[in-house]
């Protein structure tokens, strides 16, 4: 062979291998579809094998061609429905593909291989001499399982089945809320059917049995003769559970174990029976009929004659036969059949049950032999219309799945973890190189290291992505959980999810699984009320639990909302007292929001009785600890009567995080960027004046607000350095509080790879991990929350939310107001909250006019009534001002406006108002000292009301 030939050959091998890869799955699909196989799919397989055959012939690969040819012929027969895709047929075809693969892998001497045994088998199938002509699925099953399964096939089956089960649960839940959805029923049916098919193929009898019963029931639901109801749902769920158990057993032991499925199958069948009033016998029959059915009934002469002879023999029988099949399309009016049944119910039942064995055969025979009875014809036509509508749909869905599977592969998580570690090391090496190259003058090195930098970042990002999983993966378990819980608690709960696709690192997904489950469980158990209570409160009987996830500022927010009763704040407070978690005094000081968060305290429970739903180990405090462990926060907000929102904020990933590197005593420390707000540097004069002291606590005025300062040296018990030229403050946030961390030097921000603390260091609260810096040295990662606790910025444990100083700091923030300070009269100052002033204007004094003895001015096309502040406050007038401009504060409120004339605008300041020192003068809120002057704070709305109680005087006139 020349080079061209060998290239051709190589191409052929690659192409054929690709073809065969698809063929395998397609064959399995065909098998699971059984007689309802998708002809289009057969065609696909046919084409693939055909092109292999053609190319093999062209390249002179006779052995290959021979095998492909026989396989193609069988496929042709399948296509023409001369053969049905029984396990044996598919098995043989699979053997053929295996053989083709073998031949392809050693293509050079493929012509010397002996394939006669396989060819013989293929011939047997073609000639129809083997049991393959008879759909002897049971036999082949037996032989297959005896052959022993390859581990890989088994694994694949398990993985696939678990996927199917997940899908199944989701669909089934959706189906319960939307019982008429055809696509959902079909989806559920398909999933069950697939499991059943593969289970049968692999020889798992129990699995097949249980899925078969479930499939039967679903078959009737799909046909419309059964309506979806909770009982069916529960039945199917228990079937799913049994399937899961079996799969588990198979996974562990390779066999189905001694799980008792028969009773469940029986129970399900009975349930089916009860629910099908018209079809009593068919229910009873189906499960039983199946085993003996397939080998014998289909085309045995006995069955043929029986069904042929039945129509003339008795009128009732064909009528019944029509009924059972037609019910699938729910088209044929049941009037004639039901009357027949009603008329002679008992009799009909008996008759039908005796003829029922033939029922599945009826349609087939009707197709094959057109001329039987009219009743039969009707049946077949119903079937004919049914078949194309349902079969292609399922087939399409299947192919869609296959193609989706093609574009993704399954990877062992351990491998991803390994990859992640490697990338972590690479990031470190990159950092090192970058540092090295920045000291070097070599431009080539510069360029290369820049490139390395880019590639590493990209690689890091991609690897991170492989570990990202949608949060929906965790949530998918919840509908089932909520459904079951709601049943136990006798509640009606609907679950809604928003942002299912929000992605999180796998480790975080793992870490939040349990806390989330607990929160959801709690919500159903405690949050949502019983239907009667809800209705009494004017709500829907059905409660709604909403799970919401979204990205926000590099973090993920997860909310668990319910529209339930909310938290009974008083009860929570009382419980906290009762359990001695807090003192009376502390409780009294609690805000409602803080009180709600008491439920996160260790040892807290309001449950009067321990139900089997809640109190299964993890308490809310564990939820909180677990979430804080991964750097997250939990917050609870409750509106009594209308619901509770629990908000969890967690970082996207834990493995590699951006961090700020700071130096303290020649050691570097990393501060996670998520905690970082800003950096402040004080040097020169500022260094001495910037820091103020409240007793022993240093503070810094950051835009007018006092920021408590924490010296890292103090915290780490490192001696203070004598003098430095600047003061570096890292402004951090911990648990909604801000504080400034004073460090020796701020280096840089860097991506760091987080490594856990060794056991010896775990009990030091100010560290959260370690990392390796660019130069190979180890640096500690500071735990900002721990640091805040250690430095009492926030106080630990139960006291955290009731700490007095922290309460004050909230109040400070709330009471701080921006005030406009103005001068009136000789030496009077007053201040107006800037929020009350709509505009500041300078107006010409000469423009003053009078309307009904009221000073007014034309202002923006309106007549603006004016008040002189001197009159309002009754203070001494200033010496006549020579200015002919008036300073006017314009205040507008709901259609009325007033201009207040003052003498001088002095300043805008921020100040905290002391609410206690109330003034008795109307219109004056309080008196305070601003910029060393006593200043009255006035309330413009109050003044307006005082001078114009009925709202007529200052009405806005256009």
């Amino acid at each position: 062979m020349g080079t061209d030939d060998s290239e051709l050959l190589a191409e052929f091998v690659v192409e054929s291998q690709e073809h065969l890869g698809d063929v395998e799955t397609q064959l399995l699909t065909l098998e699971s579809q059984g007689d309802a196989m998708d002809v289009a799919l057969v065609n696909t397989v046919f084409r693939a094998v055909h092109s292999i055959k053609g190319a093999a012939g062209f390249l002179g690969l006779e052995t290959l061609q021979g095998v492909a040819h026989r396989a193609e012929e069988i496929l042709n027969k399948l296509r023409n429905r001369e053969l049905s895709p029984t396990s044996l047929v598919i098995n043989t075809l699979l053997k053929a593909t295996d053989c083709l693969k073998d031949l392809l892998s050693s293509i050079e001497n493929s012509n010397n291989q002996d394939t006669s045994a396989l060819l013989h088998e293929l011939e047997l199938i073609l000639s129809g001499d083997t049991p393959a002509a008879v759909p002897a699925s049971d036999d082949s099953k037996g032989s297959k399982s005896d052959n022993g399964l390859s581990n890989e096939a088994l694994r694949e089956f398990l993985v696939e089945s678990y996927d199917n089960i997940d899908q199944l649960e989701r669909d089934l839940l959706a189906l319960e809320s939307d019982p008429t959805s055809e696509s959902l029923v079909n989806g559920v049916f398909r999933s069950i059917h697939t499991i059943k098919g593969t289970a049968g193929f692999l020889g798992f009898g129990k699995l097949e049995r249980i899925t078969h019963v479930a499939e039967n029931m679903l078959g009737d639901v799909r046909a419309g003769s059964l309506t979806m109801c909770p009982e069916i749902g529960s039945g199917l769920f228990s079937a799913i559970d049994a399937v899961k158990e079996l799969l588990q057993a198979i996974e562990n032991t390779g066999t189905e174990g001694d799980c008792d499925c028969e009773s469940l199958a029986g129970a399900l069948a009975t349930l089916h029976q009860i629910l099908m009033p018209f079809d009593v016998p068919s229910v009873e029959k189906r499960p039983k009929a199946k085993p003996e059915n397939s080998p014998t009934a289909k085309k045995t002469p006995a069955a043929k004659t029986a069904s042929k002879s039945s129509p003339p023999a008795k009128k009732a029988r064909p009528a019944k036969a029509v009924k059972t099949t037609s019910s699938k399309v729910s088209l044929l009016a049941s009037s004639n059949t039901t009357t027949a049944l009603d008329a002679n119910f008992d009799n009909a039942v008996l008759e039908v049950s005796s003829t029922f064995v033939e029922e599945p055969a009826v349609s087939q025979i009707a197709q094959a032999t057109p001329a039987i009875s009219t009743a039969m014809l009707e049946t077949s036509s119903q079937n004919a219309t049914l078949a194309p509508s349902s079969a292609p749909r399922s087939a399409n869905a299947k192919t869609a799945e296959v193609s989706a599977a093609d574009s993704s592969i399954r990877v062992d998580v351990a491998l991803l973890d390994k990859l992640m570690t490697c990338v972590g090391e690479l990031v470190l090496a990159r950092n090192q190189i970058l540092q090295f190259s920045s000291c070097s003058v070599e431009s080539e090195l510069h360029r290369t290291s820049q490139r390395l930098n880019l590639i590493t970042s990209e690689l890091q990002e991609s690897v991170m992505k492989t570990r990202m999983q949608p949060i929906g993966n965790v949530w998918s378990k919840f509908p089932r959980l909520v459904r079951d819980l709601a049943t136990i608690c006798e509640k009606q709960v609907r679950i809604e999810m928003e942002g299912k696709e929000t992605e999180l690192d796998k480790t975080i997904i793992e870490a939040i699984k349990d806390p989330l489950t607990h929160l959801v469980r709690n919500t159903v158990d405690h949050g949502i009320e019983r239907p009667e209570v809800r209705v009494a409160n004017g709500k829907d009987a059905e409660g709604c639990l909403t799970l919401r996830a979204y990205h926000e500022g590099g973090r993920v927010n997860i909310e668990i909302c319910d529209d339930g009763a909310g938290i009974n704040i008083e009860r929570v407070k009382n419980k906290a007292l009762e359990r001695g978690l807090m003192t009376q005094e502390q409780v009294a000081r609690l805000s409602d929001r803080d009180a709600g968060n008491l439920i996160f305290l260790p040892g807290f429970s309001t449950a009067e009785k321990v139900s089997n739903v809640s109190g299964r180990g993890v308490g809310m405090d564990v939820v909180k600890t677990n979430i804080e462990k991964i750097g997250g926060t939990v917050d609870l907000q409750s509106q009594p009567g209308s619901g509770t929102v629990i908000r969890i904020k967690i970082p996207l990933t834990l493995a590699i995080i951006p961090a700020l590197i700071v130096t303290c005593d020649e050691n570097r420390y990393a501060i996670p960027q998520v905690n970082l707000l800003e950096l402040v540097r004080l040097d020169g004069e500022q260094m001495r004046t910037g820091i103020e002291w409240i007793q022993s606590a240093p503070v810094y005025r950051l835009r007018g607000q006092l920021l408590p300062l924490v010296y890292l040296r103090d915290q780490l018990k490192i001696e203070n350095k004598a003098n430095s030229d600047a003061l570096n403050i890292v402004v951090l946030r911990a648990d909604d509080r801000q504080f400034g961390l004073v460090v020796d030097r701020i280096n840089d921000s860097e991506e760091i790879v987080v490594k856990p603390l060794s056991k010896q260091l775990k009990n030091v609260p100010v560290y959260s991990g370690t990392t390796i810096m660019g130069d190979g040295r180890v640096a500690l990662i500071l735990d900002v929350l721990g640091l805040a606790h250690a430095s009492s910025v926030i106080s630990a444990g139960a006291d955290r939310r009731v700490n007095e100083s922290s309460d004050k700091s909230i109040n400070i923030a709330e009471d701080r107001q921006t005030l406009l300070v103005v001068g009136v009269g000789a030496n009077h100052r007053f201040a107006v909250p800037i929020s009350q002033v709509t505009r500041l204007e300078k107006l010409e004094a000469s423009k003053l006019e009078y309307a009904e003895s009221q000073e007014v001015i034309q202002y923006r096309g309106e007549i603006l009534p004016l008040l002189r502040m001197i009159d309002v406050l009754g203070c001494a007038p200033a010496h006549e001002s020579d200015s002919d401009m008036l300073e006017v504060l314009v205040y507008i409120e709901q259609g009325r406006s007033v201009g207040i004339i003052v003498d001088k605008i002095i300043d805008i300041v921020q100040a905290r108002l002391d609410k206690e020192a109330k003034s008795h003068t109307v219109g004056i809120v309080t008196s305070t000292v601003l910029q060393n002057h006593v200043t009255d704070v006035v309330d413009l709305p109050a003044i307006l009301r005082q001078f114009d109680p009925d709202g007529s005087r200052f009405r806005l006139v256009n």
Partner: protein
Amino acid sequence: MATPTRQLSSFYLDNQIFGVDAHTVQEVIRYQEMTHVPLTADCISGLINLRGQIVTAIDLRKRLGMGPRPTDKRPMNVVIRTDEGAVSFLVDQIGEVIDVSADSFESPPETLRGASRDLVDGAYKLDKQLLLVLNTKEAIQVPVAI
């Protein structure tokens, strides 16, 4: 009947010979730059980057309550595998791997007091001196700093 033997990696602390089970020793390396960890017990010397693995170094002299090492002597690292990851013991000097037989073993005398009480499993009577067996499990349980 042959008496069961035990292979111990030996090292010296203040001229006293100690041993740990040879199979628990991951490697022995010379002194490394390390990162000091504030707020931890005195005996924790710092953290070492051992080819990407971060290892805590415990100064055995301090752990055992012995006097400080002469400043001109640099310690060696004996890296031990433990259930909680690798830990490095700082020792004065590395000795040989010694085969000892069980019949030469004796438990520490009751008169042994102090930190060594929990940290020394017992002694093997060698020809010229006693080889003390370090209880590594205890040795890595470092007390919490003040």
